[in-house]
Amino acid sequence: MSASASTEALPTRWVPRVGLLPAIGLFLVLLVLVWLGVNLVKEPSAFAATFLDGLTLGLVYGLVALGYSLVYGILELINFAHGDVFMLGSAISFGVATNWFSLHDTNSLGKLIPALIATLAMAMIVCACLNATIEFVAYRPLRSAPRLAPLITAIGMSFFLQNVGLRFIGSAPVSVPNILSHKAVFSIGGHEYRWYQLIVGVSTLPVLFGLVYLVQQTRQGKAMRATAQDQDAAAMMGINVNRTISFTFFIAGALAGVAGLLYAIYTTNIAYDQGFTLGLIAFTAAVLGGIGNLPGAVLGAVLIGLIQQFNEGLSWHAPGSDWTQSIVFSILILILVFRPEGLLGERTPEGG
């Protein structure tokens, strides 16, 4: 990078030179677009249905990705344990919804709605407290240590929580009964878009807007942004840095709780290791959008959700679900190599 900066200063350069890396990157993007285009022309209805599925899935990913982005924004720490907090959110939702309320899609709305709200509240509160506790126990004592130290405790925490989930869920995936109606809302050329998908997708939106309001408009949000920029300066301005960081983890945990419930409803099964896989996918989404950037996290998550569904749902030369993880991680690697600041992020010295 420094080499290109010095050559730009030379006045004799007239023709803008396209570097090799951006050219390869553009080529790859074009390739994907061509593939999508051919699929759209061949099977428009399947394409549209897959698109909606991907959008819904992407919005759920977005909730988890926001948790990574919030924490990364404030501490510059990849909170590996976040995916497992999300997994525990799913487990708690499952326990409360089926064991306490025995919810099912045959329940009347009068029972379903209050019970779902209670489940949601339970999952949010437990996950939020859990996430804040993790910060207090595992990250706060290491705040002045080298950066790799909290990263390693985060991995340790992740494994620990995964085993807590293993204790409660068991090693085999558990299927969740249909809580919301699986009847079709509408169908596009034989591909049905069902009510539970619609409700899951739509209910992420108020959460996202609420979060944006919290961070952009409130006093607490201002404290969070200030702490993210410069902890020492924020402390000097009278912001309680520790409390702000705890609050951030609290919010991130609550988001993971919401995501846990929605994911359990959406995929209708939970597994103790879903947190690891989905956590990495969500982290990729956060990096794709520009880590630390909240709208970017949602954008990245929607893109990842779309890519995953296109990969699994389209028929023309789609690699299929065997390769989903490889594709997502390849995207992660490519993004970090070609555009480490992400789609919406600003170029920072850290990114490169």
Binding site: M1, S2, E76, L77, I78, F136, V137, A138, R140, P141, L142, R143, S144, A145, P146, R147, L148, A149, P150, L151, I152, T153, I155, G156, M157, S158, F159, F160, Q162, N163, V164, L166, R167, S171, Q231, D232, A235, G238, I239, N240, V241, N242, F276, L280, F283, V287, D322, W323, Q325, S326, F329, S330, L332, I333, L336, V337, P340, P349, E350, G352
Partner: protein, 461 residues
Amino acid sequence: MTYPSGTEGGFDARALWRQQRDRWHHLPERTRTTIVLVVQVLIVLLLLPWWWGFAVLLAIFFALYWIPEDLAVPLGTRKLRVRAFVTPLVALALAILYPYVRDHIDSLPGVGPWPQMDTAVIMTVYAMMAVGLNIVVGYAGLLDLGYVAFYAVGAYTAAWFASVQFAKQNIHFGSVGVGATVPGIHISVWILLILAGIVTAFIGVVIGLPTLRLRGDYLAIVTLGFGEILPQVARNGDNLGGFNLTNGPNGITPIDPPGFGKTLHDATGGALPDNYLALADRNKAYFYTGVVLLAITVFASLRLRDSRLGRAWIAIREDEIAAAAMGIPLMRTKTWAYASGAFFGGVAGAFFASFKSSTFPNDFSFNISAFILSMVILGGMGNVWGVIVGGAVLAYLNQEGLANIGAKLGIADVPLYASGIFGAILVIMMLLRPAGLLPSARVRAELEEGVHDQPLYDASG
């Protein structure tokens, strides 16, 4: 209103720990020496009636502790430091004796019997991988969460060139125990160990070149990505455009055993086994092979550390910008660290595959990467001896120790929670003793006195 306690508030177990340690260090030298000696003697005496084998082992290591660190005998023009020379020899002697004394030395306190011979082989393999990862993480300070990828590449290299996987070929070269008519590629496992190392080192360079420009935690996540992609490729590799590369989830099995062949066997009067699989006590042969490979790894690792390259790694770990300013080529040095670490991972993987006579995609999960990382952290980043101890102890716990402990406590499914237990170990170690059980002095100084400061950006970028 109280002034915010800045970044150091809250529950701080480390501060308490540090305070207690400082109190200890402020005792007079004589008092400390006496206390240490008395405690050591007491421990050995207390253990002796019940676990005499373990007590003797401890006594040997305690004795090594009392050799003054700067004691040296002149040897020609150079000086030979006694402790640095005697310790590895004692360790090697103990390892050589182990198969013969295992059945006669009681049990381990609190755990159960001493490791079985097959566990001992696995311990050497993991210790090797831990020493390899230590080059990347401990020396060069690059957090690699995908080390299992190198292990996988090594294992598959051995599997391809010493099995019937490519049945259309019929290539035999120095393999033992395989009839000349058996299809497939069969090359001597000894050659494959080196080949696996080279292939893996090359893969390490390929992975490293685009990613090593990234800063610490980004690098960690990218290596994690590679560590997830490669096993998936192995899992789906039974039909890559119609070509069966990895035999998919069924894995490649059997893999040829190592052996020295008839000529060498007869020439050495039977000291070198003809074919490991044909031996009655084959685990002993595998164990000695593992010990020799581990010894080579340790030797290479120590020599690398003290070389110009190794000093460059440590300089980069301590301060990248300063290192770059001193003229160290960052990319090239980091890539070398990656390649060297990968080399040993590959050799260990190939040896392990030959020992198990199989390789499956499910052997290469992220758990293994984190497991090997725990060994490095537990033992002490940067200190080869600590890392070997960490690797051996954790591999033993994973293989049979946890099951033994569980049986002793009456809990059946302790091994199921192995990764959770190792996760908890990682957290507790980072909080209480971040430099590991046997820390290298330099890493300890960095971690505890804040000498180390992660650079803001890559100076070469």
